[in-house]
Symmetry: C2
Subunit: 277 residues, 2 copies
């Protein structure tokens, strides 16, 4: 189920381990990006780097150089058949190594980790006819200082994902403690209501996905009305279309949420057609 990666790299060197004293391991003190590699090119690299940069700034972690990161990603893929296969690279930036204590010394150098994996073998039906989902019992906690970021404190996602183990259900939808719909465990969620496309506000919890941004920017360019706001479960249940996005899956229509059935709608199809290769 959890296939091990092809290759791992730390600060430009192919190694499989990291210091026990790395603050990523000690405290989850860091960030990550999940990159889709197609024909050897990182999809939406500018968006990924821009989110990483902003998040590093919010956490006062030194921002890794953009060109250096890309050089390392290219090094990681040397000897790999990028012409015929897609890959996933997880890019992690931890604050670096320190001794005991939450306090940060000025002199810490971030650790940059790259993890190269095969592209996950999702069935084509997920994109074509949609996926079955469920609403998780776990409610995401509110923390405006961490909201929006793809940081390394992911226990909520681990717990939510392990609420079920049927392979039939592909993704879990998570709400916050006010029962507003926030996101999927590994994806963002959009709904369509009367030709308007809505996606949850993520100022209290949730991850501002790069694919979410890409979709919103496209809809804006096409003058399709969008709204970023609180979305409650009633709105979710009465939506005409529901779809999920992330950098790896692209766009998946939601076919079922628990017992509720949805059909794949025109906006989902338009977005798949224009944005997913």
């Amino acid at each position: 189920m959890n296939k091990l990666p092809l290759q791992t790299m730390l600060n430009g060197t192919l190694v499989s381990d990291i210091s026990i004293m790395d603050r990523g391991f000690q405290y989850g003190d860091g960030l990550f990006e999940t990159l889709s590699i197609s024909k050897g090119v990182v999809s939406l690299w500018d968006h990924h780097y821009s989110r990483l940069e902003k998040s590093c700034q919010r956490l006062s972690i030194a921002v890794p150089d953009k060109a250096d990161l890309l050089n390392n990603i290219n090094m990681l893929m040397e000897g790999i058949d990028t012409e015929n296969n897609k890959y996933v690279v997880k890019l992690m930036v931890s604050r670096g190594v320190s001794g005991r204590g939450y306090a940060v010394t000025d002199s810490i150098t971030p650790n940059v980790v790259l993890i190269l994996s095969d592209y996950p073998g999702y069935p084509e039906s997920y994109g074509q006819t949609g996926v079955k989902t469920r609403i998780c019992d776990l409610k995401l906690s509110h923390q405006p200082l961490l909201a929006g970021m793809k940081h390394l404190n992911r226990l909520e996602q681990v717990l939510a994902r392990n609420e079920w183990n049927s392979t039939d259900i592909v993704e879990g939808l998570v709400c916050d403690q006010n029962n507003n719909v926030i996101e999927g465990i590994m994806s963002n969620v959009f709904i369509v209501d009367n030709d308007k496309v809505l996606t949850p506000k993520l100022d209290q919890c949730g991850v501002e996905g790069v694919m979410r941004r890409h979709v919103l920017e496209y809809l804006d360019r096409k003058n399709i009305e969008t709204e970023i706001n609180n979305i409650n479960q009633e709105q979710l249940f009465s939506a005409s279309e529901v779809f999920l996005t992330n950098s790896i899956i692209g766009i998946w229509p939601v076919r079922k949420i628990d017992a509720r059935v949805y059909s794949v709608g025109p906006i989902t199809r338009l977005l798949q057609d224009r944005l997913v290769k």
Copy 2:
């Protein structure tokens, strides 16, 4: 400031690194205990192990064997002058190594990490005349599924601790999003009000400290009235005594919270006299 450890151990072997794919590094998917070693003996070991065991069960992580853990701790300290010096051992249990994805396969074996450090050189005045503290701006988020546990998702503590860098201020007190006082960043907090000892309820956030439990059990045995409840800032400010506990510091009186001054009271002194060696 952040002194590096003397020795680190992974599953009984002295090494300094851990797999990049360890879920502690990937997701903060694990737990820790901070042990005080005095004359070569782990203080309050039963309490530590019991908390670790309960937390592992809550997160569905396999519980490490108690005797094995103690054997490894003793191995870690071989050749160290435990007769004359105190030490700190951080015991970490991660869910173990897996490939991509939040889902957990049944077959994961936990990784047990031990980190041996010198005892921190806190000035004696901290215990004698008390410490200066401040109220942090960060508000802890509510997550009942994680509350009470010493898990590896510690970004809130990292952010709170880095709100200030004056060495004058020794600890930060953190409230939740309802402005109830919850704990110190690295300690638990107690207040005394009319001869009753109160400490915050930790069912929504916070860590149930081993020293906190030790203090509560002692007070119960001595028929000193205790209460575990919500504590608002007014109660904190009007308390006759405020003190902090953790396994390493023992018990520190609070002398100042921001501009507010407290004196060291009789219950704090009694507890220090009976429980701190």
